[in-house]
């Protein structure tokens, strides 16, 4: 569904990704793990076209999107939950969700809104509350809900567990598993390697801009190198 072929990305003159190839198949959860500064967020942003890859190809659903504008990529069936949630804090929960379905018809918005409320009953309770007044976990739910509003085929999550309590993280990961059952492909970027690999069908390990390892989630979890570096021995 999403294929990155030998992608290089530069910030000015500095190369942040040195030829990364990643493949995400339809209906999978693929996790990308790596330390701080490994280039995880850069990789995601490159998929979104901001910054654009300097060389290599990015193919989504058979179309080359390497040179597309961010706004067009984000309308083509990919949705991203950005790092640090980034909900519109001054807008209510409902308005946030409506922003997510900006390019859909009213009927579609109503339908996906109900669907999001089914996934996150908590958001329904807070429907008319300003997003900025909610807890971190609720905001993360809102960010995921907002991304789902555009009815994406694939959802990219950038560190959804960042700064959340263990119990909330567990909830969020349960929801991510549920998304797979609905047929949404998930590309998950995490520092929380244990949970991310546990959930994932396949995983990639990114180190200083290169893919170091690539295997099924289970295998990576039992890989001694991964255990040493990311799972605390």
């Amino acid at each position: 569904m999403l294929v990155l072929e030998d992608v290089h990305t530069h910030y000015g003159k500095i190369e942040a990704l040195h030829g990364v190839s990643v493949e995400v198949n339809k209906g999978e959860i693929v996790s990308l793990i790596g330390a701080n500064g490994a280039g995880k967020t850069t990789l995601l942003m490159t998929v979104c076209g901001n910054p654009q890859a300097t060389s290599g190809r990015i193919i989504f659903q058979g179309h080359d999107i390497t040179r597309d504008m961010t706004s067009n990529i984000m309308r083509s069936g990919i949705a991203i939950v950005p790092e640090g949630r980034r909900v519109f804090s001054g807008l209510t929960v409902e308005e946030n969700l409506h922003m997510g379905g900006f390019f859909n018809t009213k009927a579609e918005i109503r339908k996906s809104q109900n669907h999001v409320y089914e996934l996150f009953p908590r958001l329904k309770e807070r429907e008319h509350q300003r997003a900025g007044t909610m807890s971190g976990g609720e905001q993360q739910m809102l960010a995921i809900g907002r991304a789902l509003m555009s009815k994406p085929n694939m959802i990219i999550l950038d560190e959804p567990s960042l700064g959340l309590a263990p119990l909330v993280i567990k909830q969020i990961f349960e929801i991510i598993g549920q998304l797979r059952e609905e047929g949404i492909t998930v590309f998950l970027v995490e520092q929380n390697a244990h949970q991310a690999l546990n959930l994932a069908d396949r995983g990639y390990v990114l180190e200083t801009g290169r893919i170091r390892l690539h295997d099924t989630g289970k295998n990576l979890l039992s890989n001694p190198d991964v255990q040493n570096a990311y799972l605390g021995g």
């Binding site: 961010t70 706004s71 984000m74 980034r86 519109f88």
Partner: protein
């Protein structure tokens, strides 16, 4: 205490060096030369007294402020519970209806001067509502807003001068041209934010003014353009004698005596209708997806982009729509004055319009309307104080921001109230 003493001495010194050179000397012309003279003794005593007062106040500042805090709150509204939404919405709609009704009756009970001033208020309301879209909703700080106002005014003036186009045709053309300029300015500033955007828009405002000043052959430069025609009512003119062939005059058609007031009232009513149109149109836009997109982009640009919103389209639409209404206001202004020159479109105008938006509470229409009324009328009311009127105006603004830093009526969103848990 020593810290207070040091501080007090410093403040007293500052008071002295600020006030004495300004108040204590006088420039007198002596033949061809100018001489500097000390003024009479009473002014010096006044300055000295001010210094002493500042010194004593700063020395005992803590005690004085402490006892002031003991006093009952001056502002009775400070700690009240926010009004229930249903009540607030009802009150707001009643208030708005009353305001519009009052505004319609106004010209028939007030004096000519008051109606003229009210027209100016309405022009400022249009301007402030337009700028509110750009600054309050989209969060783009625009310091050159007056440029679009100038474009609207000058396009009417020039069109009527060169092509004899009437007010009613010039109105959409002027607004459209201003919108076009908004679009043109929008492109280079798309990537800018905050301070940088402010500087570029400030420059743009000045460019337009200087252009108008220097394109003497076209705009008449600093001499301005005069003889801008008044609007007509279905071909009826409001002057004593008909200026254009084929028109009839208002007072003859209705068989009433000629009065100069008819024209003033008519202009006022036009401004009122246009202001209401502006308010309703922008209110609609705010509730439409484009309005939400403006707010989303203001709140978080990256998140807005991640949802597939195009930064270009959203920012340009805000700039264009804001400029459009400035063009509206400019056309009415040109018609009201009958004469325009670049003098009317200086930076101070931009600053005043921005002050209205900030005072009213960013994004809130009701607040902006109230602030436009206050800011336009206050300097007029303070006319008795002659040269101190701008000082009073400034003091009022400072007090206002201390009293209600979030603006007269900050923007509130519609929401459902939860029952308080027992």
């Amino acid at each position: 205490m020593t810290a207070n003493l040091k501080h007090a001495l410093f403040c007293a010194f500052i008071t002295l060096i600020i006030s004495y050179p300004i108040l204590g000397f006088d420039l007198k012309g002596r033949g061809t030369s100018v001489a500097l003279e000390g003024v009479d003794i009473s002014t010096s005593i006044g300055v000295l007294l001010a210094v002493v007062i500042v010194f004593v106040f700063q020395l005992y500042r803590d005690t004085i402020m402490g006892s002031v805090r003991q006093l009952p709150a001056i502002n009775p509204l400070a700690n009240r519970e926010p009004m229930e939404q249903s009540k607030r919405l009802k009150l707001e709609s009643i208030l708005l209806t009353l305001m519009v009704i009052g505004a319609v009756i106004w010209p028939f009970i007030a004096s000519r001067g008051a109606v003229d001033l009210a027209t100016l208020v309405l022009i400022y309301i249009m301007l402030a509502l337009g700028l509110n879209v750009v600054v309050g909703l989209a969060g783009l700080l625009d310091l050159g807003y007056v440029a679009f106002y100038a474009v609207g005014a000058y396009s009417f003036a020039l069109l009527s001068q060169y092509f004899g186009i009437s007010f009613w045709f010039a109105l959409p053309i002027g607004a459209g041209l201003a919108a076009l300029f908004g679009l043109v300015l929008g492109f280079p500033v798309l990537r800018l934010r905050g301070d940088y955007l402010a500087i570029v828009t400030l420059g743009f405002g000045e460019i337009i003014r200087i252009l108008l000043n220097n394109m003497t052959s076209l705009t008449g430069g600093p001499n301005g353009i005069g003889g801008i025609p008044d609007p007509t009512l279905f071909g009826m003119e409001f002057s004593r004698l008909i200026k254009e062939e084929g028109n009839t005059s208002f007072h003859e058609t209705f068989g009433i005596a000629y009065s100069g007031e008819h024209k003033v009232i008519f202009l006022y009513l036009i401004a009122l209708v246009l202001a209401v149109i502006t308010a309703v149109a922008i209110r609609r836009l705010m509730r439409m997806p484009v309005g939400r997109a403006w707010e989303a982009l203001r709140e978080d640009e990256i998140a807005a982009k991640s949802l597939g919103l195009s930064r270009t389209a959203v920012k340009l639409s805000a700039f264009t729509i804001g400029a459009f209404f400035a063009g509206f206001a400019g056309t009415v202004f040109a018609s009201k004055q009958g004469f325009i020159s670049p003098e009317s479109f200086v930076f101070l105008e931009s600053a005043i319009i921005l002050a209205i938006v900030v005072l009213g509470g960013m994004g809130s229409q009701m607040g902006v309307i109230l602030a436009a009324i206050a800011v336009t009328i206050l300097p007029e009311l303070a006319r008795e104080f002659s040269e101190y009127r701008m000082l009073i105006f400034g003091a009022a603004m400072v007090l206002m921001m201390v009293w209600r830093p979030q603006g007269l009526m900050p923007m509130r969103r519609i929401h459902i109230e939860l029952k308080r848990q027992e």
